[in-house]
């Protein structure tokens, strides 16, 4: 079973306690942006077969949104971190690179 540690309340939560929120670290494109940028922001997701950064909500717990790094091909969870950031923490990236030497990076 997929489990995540909520970075806010510290509870180890099962998938049934959480709600998935899709790709993390999206940059918003709004008024003034090009059609291509706006389309990509709305619809074009990374959808990698491998390391993926995602939003999750501890819906049936503390209710907070947090972010997580997970492998979509093995369901291994590398770690979770608070949502108030525009990029993953450096130590998490280092840990993933250590486990997945061929990984091309988070961007």
């Amino acid at each position: 079973m997929l489990t995540f540690t909520c970075p806010y309340c510290g509870v180890v939560a099962e998938e049934s306690e959480l709600t998935g929120g899709g790709e993390a670290h999206l940059k918003r494109f709004g008024p003034g942006s090009s059609d291509a940028e706006f389309e990509a922001y709305l619809f074009t997701r990374k959808n990698p077969k491998g390391v993926h950064f995602e939003r999750w909500r501890h819906a049936y717990g503390c209710g907070k949104w947090f972010l997580a790094a997970r492998d979509t091909n093995t369901l291994e969870v590398f770690g979770t971190y608070p949502a108030q950031t525009t990029e993953p923490p450096a130590d998490l990236i280092a840990a993933i690179k250590n486990k997945r030497p061929g990984w091309e990076g988070w961007k």
Partner: protein
């Protein structure tokens, strides 16, 4: 290709069935093909079949990384219906249903199409209104479907519990022509038809790269060597994004797991297909007597071909409440398929940003029923560069905001 017939059965009966030939050849790839189709599932094989049959293009290879029909074609609950809400969807799914009706004869291969009738239960006021809207829309589109009362539901499905404590059954959307088919046979029948036209079906051959020159496709690199092609059709469902990345573009898709499972075989208890979109459970009974059960999609991206435990639990809960007889059954097998979901829950049949590449993907949770129609439209698009059936399903619809919104019409799963 020797035709299957009663005479063939009689002939083989007299000589110990030693004369049956293999249904399709498994040749080594040639250096070049006019069209290479990636993905030997139902959609890919149907594309190749109609390319040959309707458009006379037979220098075609179908490349498959695993085994033929081993992806979502072999993993779904084989539901067939055409009563979709939007005009573009109703048109292509109705085309598919009409082709299914004559498919066994067309392919000379028994796909066991069984138009046993299909119900979609309405278990909330919203669902009831939604399905009635579908009935009116379908009437205008010329697609046969009807709204039936809860009493009629009980007549058609004696094992159903109409008065569940949470979600009582209020009625159903009923398509008498809907039903099921034997999923493997659909893939095998198309494969046999393709092979008979001289096409090469190459299994255990994974695409490792896509070669382009000046924005035009030249060929593909595979685990069995390089293959040149004039046109490339990508028909790989959940892995479409992986392939698109090799060609240097992205698709508006996310891949998630969708599960199904079957019970131990029992005597006939249900002779229609019943879907319940609110609680996410689908049920039908196979010819062997197994109850074929399905649920909703998981809530996160997944490439593992197995689903989440909680989805299984939720669907089982709904099943036991709706069909109490199920509570005493043992389950035999459970599996997952990787479905590719678009923003509007409608498929993509489109030219790709790279010249010569065409994509047929995004069928999400409802691809099996569409196989013949999807293949028909995709073949026309590849051969002629334009297909009326595929017109609404272009990639440009996301940029232009012309969605074919079936997520409201069909719920999460369809």
């Amino acid at each position: 290709m020797r035709r299957y017939s009663m005479f063939a059965v009689a002939r083989e009966a007299l000589r110990y069935h030693a004369g049956w030939e293999r249904a399709w050849r498994s040749p080594e790839p040639k250096k070049r093909y006019d069209v290479v189709v990636v993905g030997a599932g139902g959609h890919g094989l149907a594309t190749a079949y109609y390319l040959g049959k309707v458009h006379g293009i037979t220098n075609v290879a179908v490349i498959e990384k695993g085994w033929l029909g081993g992806g979502n074609t072999g993993r779904n609950t084989t539901i067939i219906r055409s009563n979709y809400l939007q005009d573009a969807s109703a048109a292509i799914f109705e085309k598919a249903l009409q082709l299914y009706e004559g498919l066994s004869q067309d392919l000379n291969y028994n796909v066991m199409f069984s138009p046993r009738g299909l119900l979609m239960l309405a278990q909330s006021e919203h669902e009831m209104r939604g399905y009635k809207r579908t009935v009116y829309a379908n009437a205008l589109q010329g697609v046969q479907t009807e709204w039936i009362s809860r009493e009629r539901v009980k007549e058609l499905v004696p094992i159903i519990n109409l008065d569940g404590p949470r979600y009582p059954v209020l009625g159903a959307l009923y398509q008498e022509r809907g039903g099921t088919a034997r999923h493997d046979a659909v893939a095998w029948g198309y494969a046999r038809g393709c092979s008979a036209m001289g096409m090469d079906i190459i299994q255990q051959c994974e695409v490792t790269g896509i070669r382009t020159v000046n924005g035009k496709v030249q060929g593909i690199d595979t685990t069995k060597g390089a293959i040149d092609c004039g046109k490339l059709a990508m028909v790989v469902a959940g892995h479409s994004g992986v392939l698109a990345e090799m060609a240097g573009f992205r698709l508006p898709l996310e891949s998630v797991a969708l599960q199904a499972w079957v019970s131990e075989p029992i005597k006939p208890v249900i002779d229609v297909v019943v879907m319940a979109n609110l609680v996410h459970c689908y049920i039908s009974q196979s010819d062997k007597g197994e109850l074929v059960l399905g649920g909703g999609i998981d809530h996160c991206n997944n490439f593992t071909q197995r689903g989440s435990w909680y989805t299984l639990e939720e669907t089982t809960r709904a099943l036991v409440e709706t069909y109490p007889v199920v509570s005493r059954l043992k389950m035999l097998r459970q599996w997952g398929g990787i479905v590719d979901i678009t923003g509007d829950h409608s498929p993509i049949i489109s030219k790709a940003p790279v010249e010569g590449i065409f994509v047929d993907c995004g069928w999400g949770t409802g691809g099996f029923k569409a196989i013949p129609g999807s293949g028909w439209a995709m073949a026309e698009l590849v051969a002629k560069g334009h297909s009326p059936l595929a017109e609404g399903f272009g990639l440009n619809r996301f940029r232009e905001g012309r969605f074919i919104d079936e997520s409201v019409a069909a719920g999460v799963a369809h």
